[in-house]
């Protein structure tokens, strides 16, 4: 071998804990700790709990889709099995069969998820791609429809419910309040996210990426693509189970809804919206989706239509999701050229946003016109009260929408030019005349 000292690689440092690697986790932990003080209302804490559970679930889903290249249409099953398992253990705690502190419950749920994934994965991970997707759909539908048959475990139509306050007290806390539950969930969120991140840095986690990119090549490097997928699948099932356990702890009830295609599809949507290419993508996806769900569903009956449209447009135009869009800006930022983007962005994106808002208003008014009860002509949109039968309203909406889109379209070439400029390394563009 060549002499180490002469080797350019020898100057590189490996494996040290750098500030850049630790900082996001410390900041994340601090944020989680202070959130209940910033948003102290009960409803805010409810939303944050839901958000945190969704983050764990979405991250576990991305272990399959983003890191392992496995598209699952039945991931809810592993969360559900974990959750139902946790509910039964919770009920045993209430009946005095076993005595455990409540914070242990998600771990038990994780083991339920792991066990189920270990059994299913034996045959479902033989292939990736379409076969895997189909088997996951089949298993998902099978388990979801079994929920009314296997009443002993799934509780039939009414599901399984319980009371979380019978666990052994932890430092005097019995987890009756939402805030106590918040910290339990936040703690598990931090632990699970960190473990999932570290998993992606292990040999099997790295090979999961390799198998995703090129399973055949991975086989010629000494790794069986199938077993690499299997280990990722089991790990993913474990963390999905933890999410199920957190769900059980938070809501104290699980029903057939936790298992069905709807839930599995939603987590696919959330993960893809957030972006599958980066570890933090699903986190963004879960936060944005939960906010959209809470805020939009308060104001409009059409929120699922908007979310569906957003999803389809994301798949078509931004396959990297929100995380991909954010990371697109890293090169301009490195080159110190982000400022060149601000004005073109305002000039193009602002009108486009107004146009989309106009389009949504159009849909809202149309929807109201078609579906409101007879005589109910008044409606409120963006804090303005008007009649959905008023031609003037229609005219204003159409004119504003068309004008906004026209403006956005007119300014788009300038944005494209600015974008190209911002993505050219400094120096390269000055050479040009």
């Amino acid at each position: 071998m060549t002499d180490r000292a002469e080797h350019p690689a020898a100057r590189r440092r490996y494996g040290g804990l750098t500030l850049g690697a630790v900082a996001p986790w410390v900041i994340g932990a601090l944020l989680l700790a202070v959130m209940p003080y910033v948003f102290a209302s009960n409803s805010a804490i409810t939303i944050m709990n839901q958000m945190a559970i969704t983050i764990v679930f979405a991250l576990s889903y991305n272990m399959l889709l983003g890191q392992g290249g496995m598209l699952s249409f039945g991931h809810a099953v592993y969360m559900g099995v974990g959750g139902f398992g946790a509910m039964h253990v919770m009920n045993w705690m209430e009946q005095g069969v076993i005595a455990l502190p409540l914070p242990v419950l998600p771990l038990i749920a994780g083991l339920f998820g792991l066990g189920f994934a270990a059994a299913i994965g034996i045959f479902s991970t033989r292939r990736a791609g379409t076969v895997f997707a189909m088997i996951s759909l089949g298993i998902g539908e099978l388990v979801a429809s079994s929920s009314v048959i296997v009443v002993a475990f799934f509780g039939g139509e009414e599901g399984v419910s319980g009371d979380r306050t019978y666990g052994l007290p932890v430092f005097g806390h019995d987890f009756g309040s939402q805030t106590e539950i918040y910290y339990l969930i936040a703690g598990w969120l931090l632990i699970s996210a960190l473990l999932m991140y570290l998993f992606s840095r292990t040999p099997v986690g790295r090979m999961a990426n390799a198998v995703r990119d090129n399973p055949e090549r991975a086989e010629f490097l000494g790794y069986s693509a199938r077993w690499v997928r299997y280990y990722s699948f089991c790990a993913s099932g474990f963390f999905a189970g933890i999410a199920g356990g957190l769900f059980a702890v938070n809501y104290e009830i699980l029903t057939a809804e936790n298992l069905d295609l709807n839930t599995s599809g939603t987590i696919l949507l959330i993960t893809f919206l957030g972006g599958t290419g980066f570890f933090f993508g699903p986190i963004i996806g879960a936060i944005v989706f939960t906010l959209l769900q809470t805020v939009l569903s308060l104001h409009t009956d059409l929120w699922q239509l908007y979310v569906g449209a957003l999803f389809v447009l994301t798949v078509m135009f931004f396959p990297g999701g929100l995380a991909g869009v954010i990371m697109m800006h890293v090169p301009p930022w490195r080159y110190g050229k982000v400022r060149a983007l601000i004005r073109p962005y305002l000039a193009a994106v602002l009108p486009a946003a107004v146009g989309l808002l106009g389009l949504a208003s159009f849909l809202e008014v149309l929807f109201h016109l078609r579906n409101a009860a007879r005589g109910e002509e008044g409606m409120t949109l963006l804090w303005v009260h008007f009649s959905s039968h008023d031609p003037l309203v229609w005219g204003v909406i159409i004119v504003v929408t068309v004008a906004a889109f026209w403006l956005a379209r007119r300014n788009a070439p300038a944005l494209r030019a600015a974008w190209d400029f911002a993505n050219t390394p400094p120096g390269a563009d000055e050479a040009r005349p």
């Binding site: 189909m134 089949g138 048959i149 599809g265 798949v315 078509m316 579906n371």
Partner: protein, 318 residues
């Protein structure tokens, strides 16, 4: 014996309706390698369009106009949506069609609301054709059977006897070669997607009055159609036919015969636990055939995929 005949007819109706969907789905998959998750949504769209048309001009014009409209929409979606996503690979394509299914359900609810629509079979077919052992067989059921068989024969004729059919068959096997011979493969793709979704739309027009026209109708059938073509073997038209009929009959017969598992278990010599309510095996003892009917297709699919990953008739791997 008579009941068997009634169930055979009912199963045949379900099976043939399934086949109208699975044939289009198979055609699209074998041409383009895309599993169209939204296929059942086009079926739903067909029913809704036909309903809307029937409120103006009656059932029969809708039978022809609605599938054409659905096919046109399908072709547009292929041209402006799927073709764009195609460059990212098959998994994003599958995700795209999944999103499409979500979106179409919302769009349908936007225009027609959440309730079931009063879309009914035409008056002219609204009579009992014959009865078997007191079970009336409505004329509309017979109409469905003949319509579906007619479509199958037409499809078979087009694929095996016409020039366009030969191009499609060739494009299935050697897309590059066909393109090199000067055929416009992207255009053929668009056409196949349009025809496939149009077929689904036609199935919707016909099935709407029989199975109900409501926003959940796509989700109800969507997974089953998938299961059907996977069992039959992706890309095989005969496999799709066989699997459709198989699933049609299995589900019909399972619901029709109220076999209790307790009887089977006792016949096997097992004794019923004294305290059934608290036994861990109570579900097994209270299980009946109609209960497990809905999950049989999924069980069948998993068994097929585990032991014969390319399906009953499939030649190639996915």
């Amino acid at each position: 014996m008579d009941m068997v005949l009634v169930n055979l007819i009912d199963g045949l109706v379900t099976g043939l309706l399934l086949f109208m969907l699975s044939s289009g789905l198979t055609l699209i998959f074998s041409m383009m390698g895309v599993l169209n998750f939204a296929h059942a949504s086009f079926y739903m769209l067909g029913a809704y369009f036909a309903y809307q048309i029937s409120t103006y001009v009656g059932f029969w014009p809708g039978l022809f106009i609605a599938p054409v409209l659905v096919g046109l929409i399908g072709a547009m979606i292929e041209r402006y949506g799927l073709r764009r996503v195609h460059q990212y690979g098959h998994v994003p394509e599958l995700i795209f069609t999944f999103g499409l299914a979500l979106l179409m359900e919302e769009v349908v609810q936007f225009f027609w609301g959440k309730n079931q629509l009063p879309y009914e079979s035409p008056k002219i077919l609204d009579f009992t054709l014959f009865s078997i052992a007191g079970n009336a067989i409505p004329a509309y059921k017979m109409f469905i059977i003949f319509a579906a068989m007619g479509i199958f024969l037409a499809l078979l004729y087009v694929l095996t006897k016409t020039r366009i059919g030969l191009i499609i068959q060739a494009a299935l096997r050697h897309p590059r070669t066909v393109e090199a011979l000067g055929h416009n493969v992207p255009f053929v793709f668009m056409g196949v997607f349009g025809v496939g979704t149009g077929l689904a739309g036609l199935a919707g027009v016909i099935a709407g009055p029989e199975l109900g026209t409501f926003p959940g109708m796509a989700a109800l059938l969507g997974s089953i159609v998938f299961v059907t073509i996977v069992i039959g073997g992706l890309g095989s038209l005969w496999g799709a036919l066989l699997a459709s009929l198989l699933i049609g009959w299995i589900t019909t017969f399972a619901v029709a015969y109220n076999v209790a598992f307790a009887d089977i278990l006792e016949a096997l010599g097992l004794s019923r636990p004294a305290d059934l309510a608290s036994s861990a095996w109570r579900d097994l003892w209270t299980l009946t055939m109609p209960q497990i009917g809905p999950i049989l297709p999924y069980l069948l699919m998993i068994i097929v995929l585990v032991f014969r990953p390319y399906g009953l008739f499939g030649k190639r791997d996915l």
